[in-house]
Symmetry: C2
DNA sequence: TTATAGTTTCAGTAATTATTGAAACTAAAA
DNA sequence: TTTTAGTTTCAATAATTACTGAAACTATAA
């Protein structure tokens, strides 16, 4: 496979995977494009290569920056902004985990927290209470585990995987 | 908080959380409704309580069954089908993990597998190759870890979380 | 058989989410 | 200042995804 071809495959795949990972297609494609580019790219470069509008590039690049997956880069002698993606897969995975923890796990925990019944007498009330409690315990463990992951050093996951 | 109120909160929350968990809102709401019901519910019960159409109930209940999150239940003396959700949070989490592994991780692994370059000479080619390799290693570890989780016994996650 | 109760499918429609493109904005340089 | 290069925002529109409702189907009972 030629490099160009592989790049395109990769960008396409990353884009369509993005949707199942909770990231929109364009954002994922821009990320992929930045990942495979050695040189920083300008908004225009991205517009051209992916055939998308300036507004779209702007919004999604901003989100990538918010997620910590890309950075602005000023190139000497150039007035416009350029962008690069962090090439460190480990750091990338941690950033994604951090975002998902925030968007998926934490709202669940907050909601469960609120669901306290006035009284717990009937079997239905008891069952509900224990459901909420179990879900809460589970969410807390998952949260703790993700937290460890996010603050871990490189290779943690490898070590962990081999330890089990 | 009254039981009814708590039920509604829970159903609403589970539904809106569903979307960020990659499950559509109705499917998540049906799941929540079944979770809080002691009695098995018929398609009609679900239609009424959630104000949705028969077709919608049917499709989403089927998906819940496919995911292993709900089961058909025949009630003696009744001709129609009733549905229940597994109340075991642990089993539920494993099912969700299994689905997400299938939908999110495995396609990534398959794609990365294909991205082999003919030759690796230029710095760009080298960088691309190492990116793909790193992603692959990472995906494999994550896959392994999830696999362990899916086949694990209850409390594995608690033990794991406390071990770290 | 035919009637009846219940389930499934799917074309059309509605709701949601992503994208465009042009106008408003900001800042550097002439 | 004014001009020019570049960035950001957002209303309008397109694309995607979910839902409805009615018709087709299946199975039991009269």
């Amino acid at each position: 496979m030629k490099l160009k071809e592989a790049h395109n495959e990769f960008i396409g795949a990353w884009g369509s995977l993005g949707s199942s990972w909770g990231v929109n297609r364009t954002m994922a494609q821009i990320h992929a494009l930045l990942l495979v580019s050695i040189e920083p790219l300008s908004a225009e470069d991205i517009m051209e290569k992916l055939n998308i509008s300036r507004g779209n590039v702007n919004m999604n690049v901003r989100t990538l920056i918010d997620w910590g997956l890309a950075d602005k880069r000023f190139v000497t002698g150039e007035r416009k902004e350029f962008f690069v993606a962090g090439k460190d897969v480990w750091g990338m995975a941690k950033q994604v985990a951090r975002e998902r923890k925030k968007r998926e796990l934490e709202p669940l925990q907050r909601t469960l927290e609120k669901l306290k019944l006035d009284k717990v007498n009937t079997p239905e009330e008891k069952e509900f209470q224990s459901l909420v409690k179990e879900l809460g315990q589970f969410a807390d463990s998952a949260d703790g585990l993700l937290g460890k992951f996010i603050n871990s050093k490189k290779n943690w996951i490898f070590k962990l995987a081999s330890k089990l």
